[in-house]
Symmetry: C2
Subunit: 605 residues, 2 copies
């Protein structure tokens, strides 16, 4: 389909889908809601993606009661379609430098929205280009000559009846992308557009009719929506990686290539150790990330509940955790999908495999909702404060950072991988994480001796990001092991291999962190490697059952290679025959160009 056709088809589907949302359990957005959407829409998003994921949650989080009544009613009944316009052409993650202004005019009790430059154009919001008629727009609030920083405003963009852009508003689609081309990500420029005072979402900050600014009670209360979206992302990303691992595992059981024992026929490629080593760690990651997604969803629920009582205790911790997880999970997911795709050889390159779409969709997650590296450096700020606290003896560390203040063993307690307890494994990972946190901290302190705080931070930022990665990975392993420990005995047996593979893979991908200063010996490291090979061999007979446990419907997976019935080759041929190019035997490219070229040459031979 062309982009126009996809946009049209997606609009048809999303209206039908939302016509029927009362059929599903709306309270379970993370579960049924996401599944229903995946089944209906695939991996192309749609005109109302941002409406549900950003517009409505922002209204819920940022409006006062009167605004909530008006706007939430309209949004939920689908009388308006909204999006969330924050990022600008020249400004992404650094919110404080957004250029769009909303200047209060007390004479008319209006704000004037303006885009002073090209780089101030709002850029990227999903559904902004063509579908939405409203948006929450984030702009620098000016009142009484002072800038109060970025604030959210609700703004009508298009006429209710004609759907034409309102006066002073210039907007459109931003063009084709790596993926999600059925969504109309858009741009938006304001030329002195007047909106009422009450367009400012006033739950926390307010502007009175005379222009007096009332600051919010807690500066981080606005984090709620971001945390919500990142929580959903972790679930969504793990689902994409699981889809990729399902396709690769199933196809590796169907595909035969090469003989291991001469004369015994070609073997299933899943029997090759190298194939197992490519695919099974991706499956293990998907399980680990799903375990984290459940945890962070619960934490989000708890924090939301606490916030309604004004309790912000856990908010900072959740914010740090969700930022770090978003970064690690999205990166490992993208890498993992590509590994699965490459493990399927040439057929992985075909759209028939489903991989190009899965990758194009998932890899966006490395960038949107906070660029990964920026996220890691935010986590690093938390880690450096924790390290400082430990060094000064004043640390108050919540659960997830407690290891930073602990004294672990001097050397790894690993003897053989058969006797490697969860506790010893976690102690080893915590050692590596703690070591990197303090390496970064010490380098930072040293750099601060001769550089400004900002230059010092920049000069050690590679080490800081590395510390954040360790921090998150320790969390992921601990959480996965905890979840497996709670599983029924027969499941625990199988899942332990998966969790161990996940952990061992992290260790052997950073051998240096463990050999350093003799914390582990080469022999101990060899034990971990043996552990991997053992896990691969033990997972092999359970591999198909493990991915089947995710219960993907063929309709949801959308992959000829990953078909549940394994009938791959006839299906590939059928799929190919439906190629748009096969509608006729001879194409205009032959009739117009290649045919005359050959005829001319033949006549001269």
């Amino acid at each position: 389909m062309s982009r126009e056709e996809r946009i049209l088809n997606n609009a048809r589907k999303v209206v039908a889908m939302t016509d029927n949302t009362d059929q599903i359990d709306g309270s379970d957005f993370f579960g049924e809601g996401m599944y229903y959407q995946a089944l209906t829409m695939g991996r192309d998003l749609h005109a109302m993606s941002l409406h549900y994921v950003m517009f409505i949650p922002t209204l819920q989080g940022q409006t006062d009661d009167e605004q909530l009544d008006e706007w939430l009613t309209k949004a939920i009944s689908r009388a308006v379609v909204g999006t969330y316009a924050q990022t600008e052409l020249g400004h992404g993650t650094n919110l404080s430098k957004l250029e769009t202004t909303a200047t209060y005019d007390s004479a008319t009790e209006e704000f004037v929205l303006n885009s002073p430059t090209i780089t101030a154009a709002k850029w990227w919001p999903g559904g902004l280009g063509k579908s939405s008629n409203y948006a929450v727009v984030v702009a620098q609030l000016y009142t009484k000559g002072e800038c109060k920083g970025p604030h959210p405003f609700i703004v009508q963009l298009r006429d209710d009846e004609t759907h034409m852009p309102l006066k002073g508003i210039r907007l459109g689609d931003i063009g084709p992308k790596l993926g999600i081309n059925g969504n109309d990500n858009g741009f938006l420029l304001f030329d002195k557009v007047r909106i009422p005072r009450r367009a400012l979402l006033m739950r926390y900050a307010k502007v009175k009719p005379d222009g007096t600014y009332v600051a919010p009670a807690h500066s981080k209360l606005g984090y709620g929506t971001m945390v919500f979206v990142r929580s959903i992302m972790i679930k969504d990303q793990s689902t994409q990686l699981a889809a990729a691992a399902t396709i690769a595992t199933r196809y590796a059981s169907v595909r035969r290539q090469g003989e291991i024992s001469p004369g015994k026929g070609e073997v299933q490629i899943i029997d090759y150790q190298t194939q197992q080593f490519r695919v099974f760690p991706q499956m293990a990651r998907a399980f680990a990330f799903m375990a984290a997604a459940t945890e962070i969803r619960d934490l989000y629920m708890t924090v939301t509940e606490q916030l309604t009582h004004g309790n912000t205790e856990l908010l900072a911790e959740l914010h740090v955790l969700s930022s770090g997880l978003k970064s690690i999970v999205s990166w490992d997911t993208a890498q993992g999908i590509e590994q699965c795709r490459l493990a399927c050889g040439g057929h992985g390159y075909s759209q028939a495999s489903g991989f190009p779409e899965i990758y194009g969709y998932a890899v966006g997650g490395c960038t949107y909702e906070g660029e990964n590296l920026v996220m890691l450096l935010q986590v690093a700020r938390f880690l450096m404060r924790a390290a400082e606290g430990v060094r000064k003896g004043s640390a108050k560390l919540a659960d997830i950072g407690a290891y930073i203040g602990k004294t672990g063993p001097k050397t790894s307690r690993l003897t053989t991988h058969y006797h490697y307890t969860d506790a010893d494994l976690v102690a080893d990972l915590e050692h590596a994480a703690r070591k990197q946190v303090f390496r970064a901290y010490d380098r930072l302190k040293k750099a601060q001796e001769h550089l400004s705080p900002e230059d010092a931070w920049n000069s050690v930022s590679v080490e800081l990001a590395k510390a954040s990665r360790w921090h998150v990975r320790v969390y992921l392993v601990k959480n996965f092991l905890n979840k497996v420990a709670l599983a029924p005995q027969d499941l625990k047996f199988v899942l332990t291999d998966v969790a161990r593979l996940y952990a061992y893979d992290i260790i052997t991908s950073s051998i240096g962190a463990f050999l350093e200063d003799g914390y582990m010996s080469s022999n101990q490291m060899n034990e971990v490697k043996e552990g991997i090979y053992e896990c691969l061999a033990k997972i092999r007979p359970n591999a198909v059952a493990l991915v089947d446990s995710w219960d993907y419907d063929d309709k949801e997976l959308k992959s000829v290679l990953g078909r549940r019935d394994g009938n791959v080759y006839p299906a590939l041929l059928e799929w190919a025959q439906n190629s748009q190019l096969n509608r006729s035997d001879v194409l205009p490219s032959h009739t117009k160009y290649l045919g005359p070229m050959m005829k001319d040459a033949r006549s001269k031979l």
Copy 2:
């Protein structure tokens, strides 16, 4: 453009391009030839890609004199358009299991081509679906009731005049892919198609009229074409990575985000250490790969010259080297392109950046012309023979594998990175490579004690592949350092930082290999890390000049972000406004679906 439009447009361009090939220096295919094609065709390939890269070289390499006269004349004059059909739906890298048969019938002096199953369908050849009317088809040769293995045949597929498929031939396009959608990769099935005896390309193997089979003198003489294609690939891949590094480096100099020093305004993101750490190593890799591409081209020329005198001395070495390089270069290129893309934040996800196309095109190289992991295991066979020779005292190692037989220092000679000589650096890398080669060898020998040779090989294949990676990387570093040593003094000064960054990055990505058994101390490893940070800082002021030295024309680069004039933002807005979706303000998706949905809801409020 739709696929039909792209196919048509590419056919127009390739005919025009080849009308004018006499304007360029045809003897310099690696240089001018590839550049001319890149300028004309971009990264979409075209109907005649395989004609020039596989069909003609195969004719040159595999025909006897009479066949050469007939077919090369037709191919070069463009009286026919040919492709190379080897891979099948169910069979890729394992050539010996191809299912297509060519059975000799001495009664009519013909071969009968047949595809006995669906998995025997030829699958993937570029230009096979719609454009080509001839192909070199690889099929199992049967004569006098015996199978003689896969052999190449020249086969007419479509009628000269009508371009319709000939009787018994079923073929078509295989559908859309991750990239290169302007090429009609195809499928092909034979139903007992008769071709003359002389369709067998008879330079090496022959079948006499009575069906007697004459075997070739040297079993590996057919490798020439593969080596040629892999040599081109290494050049091509390095060019793609260089394009990505150019875009990312230029954009990082234009983009400003965040303040390092408060109040001094936002800084160019290229000043962030993390940004340098993402992008500069990719630039360094591109230089390293280009240096290797030049070397392997020269080696290919030498071998081709030697082969005409029946000298096959260097052929095996070239085959191993080109297989290994193909694997490492294509993987690091794909990874590097994605790193560059992600380093450009959200705009990297837009097609305007050029990255999606560059990635989609380049990453195919991980799979085609020999799947990367299979290639690495081929290199490992050579390494295990070399290790065996060293252990038995009978090694005859050519230059590239000489380190396997050497005894290096017991510990690294590194003191500070300022005094780290090329020789010491290479010795350290050779140590790591040698260690991994013998680790794999010892594990293999041990496994062979209780397993069949094939199962033993499989059980250590992850370690074998790792040994091959080290082997190739040592070659890449040594070759790069050698080339830099030959550069003029003022260039050497700058390129040394780049080469060192390349080498240090390899070391710090595998810290464990050097810390193991105390070969390096933690302090020495910290010196290497300091070396990286030093290189990044020293490359920073030269970065734009370094990528400019590749002299990409905007027309060739095809990236709004990578524009030579740096005028990125207005160009992005202009590019977006040309989106096909912006041809009208209100789309049918609104008129048909979203509009009525909102109207209905409004009426009920």
